[in-house]
Amino acid sequence: MSDDLINSFMTGPDEKGRFGIFGGRFVSETLMPLILSLEEEYEKAKTDQSFWDEMNDLWTHYVGRPSPLYFASRLTEHLGGAKVYMKRDELNHTGAHKINNVLGQIILARRMGKTRIIAETGAGQHGVATATVCAKFGLKCVVYMGAHDVQRQAPNVFRMRLLGAEVVPVTSGRGTLKDAMNDALRDWVTNVRDTFYCIGTVAGPHPYPAMVRDFQSIIGKEAKEQMQRAEGRLPDTLVAAIGGGSNAMGLFYPFLDDTDVRIIGVEAGGKGVNEKMEHCASLTGGRPGVLHGNRTYLLQDDDGQILEGHSISAGLDYPGIGPEHSWLHDTGRAEYVAITDTEALEAFQLCCQTEGIIPALEPSHALAHVMKIAPDLPRDHIICMNMCGRGDKDIFTVARHLGFDMGVTA
C-alpha cells in the first residue's frame, strides 16, 4: 500500500480491530466476552460529553495538563542545526505520559462497575500511574512486574507500594515486561467478574490499541496548537521513543494526515541491532507474528518462539510493538530507527547538562536520534520530540553504567 492510495491515516482500526493486517483479537474464549463489552463501553464513552468532561477536569487539575511545549535553546545551539522543541509530558503528575491513558481506562472501569484493577509494568511508570489513580478512586490495584524489572526499578516499586498497590514480581520467562503481560492476562482470565485490565501501551487485543492511542492523543493535539502559537506552523519532524509505542502514538496520531510532517519512531537498539537479538527493535529486527492478543512485528526465532530482547531501558524492553505502528511502518507513513544503549546514555547526559532536564532513559532514545539528525538540518527546520518521562527512576541504572558509586544497591 503506498501513501497516495490512502485517503486518511486516521480511520483505523476497522470493525475487526485491524490496521491493515495488524491488530485483531487473538485472545482465549474466556476473555472474548470481556473485550467485547469493553469495546461497547468505550464506543459509548467516546461520544459521551460527560466522559470527556470528567477526563478534561482530571487532566487539568490532577495531571497538570496541558504540558508545556518547550524550546530547548541550548541543546539547539549545541547541535547547531534544526530547532529542537520538547513536549514536556515528563512534567505530568507521576512523571510520565502514562497517566493520560490510565485516567481514561479507570473512568471506564468505574462505569463498568469493576472494583479491582490489574496492570503490567516494565519501567514501573504505568504501574505507578495505575496505582496512583486507583488510590485516588479507592480501587484495589494489583501490578505485575517482571522480577528483573523489580530489581532495576526499585524506586518505582516502593512508590507503588506506598500508593497501596500490590506488586507481584513475575518470575516466568526472563522476568521482564512480556512476562508481566502474560501473568496479567492469566490473572484476568481467572478473575473475570470484578477485574479490569488496564493495559499501559497501544498493544493487546482490540479495542486496547485504539483506545490507548485515543487517550494519549492529547499529547499530539496540544503539541499541534502549541506549535502554531510558538512558530505559526506545524513542526517539520516528530521524534518519539517506542517500546509498545503509546507516547509515540499519542504524539503522532493527530499529525498522521499532515503528510508534510516527517514522523520518526525510535526503537531500543540495545547493544546493536546487528548482533544476536540483544535489542528490542521489533520493526527493525523482527517480523509479523501474533502475541498478547494482536498481530504485529515481533522478535521471534525461526520456529515462531518469542525472543527476549535487551534494552538498558526497562520501559522499552518488549519484543513487540503496537499494531498501528506496524501498519504505519508498512505503509511508509512513519519511519522507524534504532538507538543503542550507549547512544541513549550520551543523550541522557547531554540533556541534563544543556537543558537542566533529567530525562528518562526511554525519551533519551528519542533525544539521541534528534542529536543524530539535527546538526545536518537547516536552522529553520523544526523538530518536536516527546519528552515522555523524567529520569529520577533511572539514576541508579545510569550511575552504574557511568561507573559512579551511589553507595546504595538498587
Binding site: 472474548m32 492469566r186 521471534q300 520456529d303 515462531g304
Partner: protein
Amino acid sequence: MTRIDRKFAALNAEGKKAFVAYVMAGDPDYDTSLEIVKGLPGAGVDIIEMGIPFTDPMADGPTIQLAGQRALEAGQTLQKTLDMAAEFRKGDDETPIVMMGYYNPIYNRGVDKFLVDAKAAGVDGLIVVDLPPEEDEELCIPAQKAGLNFIRLATPTTDDKRLPKVLQNTSGFVYYVSITGITGAAEAQAGDVGPEVARIKAKTDLPVIVGFGIKTPDNARDIAAVADGAVVGSAIVKQIEENRPVAEILAYVKGLADGAHSA
C-alpha cells in the same frame, strides 16, 4: 468422518465416556515424549492431545508453562512435533491426535503449509487457544477445508447469546473449559459443570468434553459422568516433571482413564 468422529461413534456404541490425555510434545525430550505418547492408547487414552510448545502460553498455569520451557530447551520445534505425530501414526492408525497450542508457531510456519504437513503427519484436529470465532478466517476455516477438525473452547463466560457463534465452525467435539482460569488451577466441580454441559448440548450434536482442573481418578469419573468425557493435562505433565519412569507415568494415566471410563 475423521478419526475423532469414528472414535466417538465407537465409544457411543459401547456406552463409554472418552478419556483425553494431554502431554507437551518434546517434554522432557523428544525420545521420552514419543515413548510416553506411544504408550497412551495402551493406558486407556481415547484421544491424545499433543501440546505445541510456545514461549508465551498465556492460558496455561505454571505446570504447562514449565513443560513448554523444558521441551524448547531440549530442542523441540513445531517440525519435531509434526514428526512425533507421524512417528506415532506408523504404529497406530486409530487413536486421534489433536494438536493444541497457540497461533504464532503455526502462523510463522504458514497456515497452508502447516495444514498440509499436519494432515500428512496424521493429525486429526486442532485446538488453538488464542483464536476465538472472531478470527475464524485465520485458521479455523482453512483447517476444516483441509479435512482437520477445529475444536473450539467454550467457557463459563460464553453466554447463551455467544454460544451459537462459538459452536458455528466447531467440529470433532466441543472442549468445555470447566473454570475461569488457567490450566491446572482450581479443581473442576461436577455440580457446576453438569448444567453448563447440558446448556451446550442443547445447542449442538457434537460431544462435549470437559477439561481444566481435573486432577484425580474420582474427579475424572465425576466430570465424565456429566459430560461425554474428561481431559487431564497438568496432573499428567506434573508426573513427567518429576522425572518418573515412563511405565510409572503410564500407570498413573491408566488410573485416570479407568476413573473416566467408570462413569
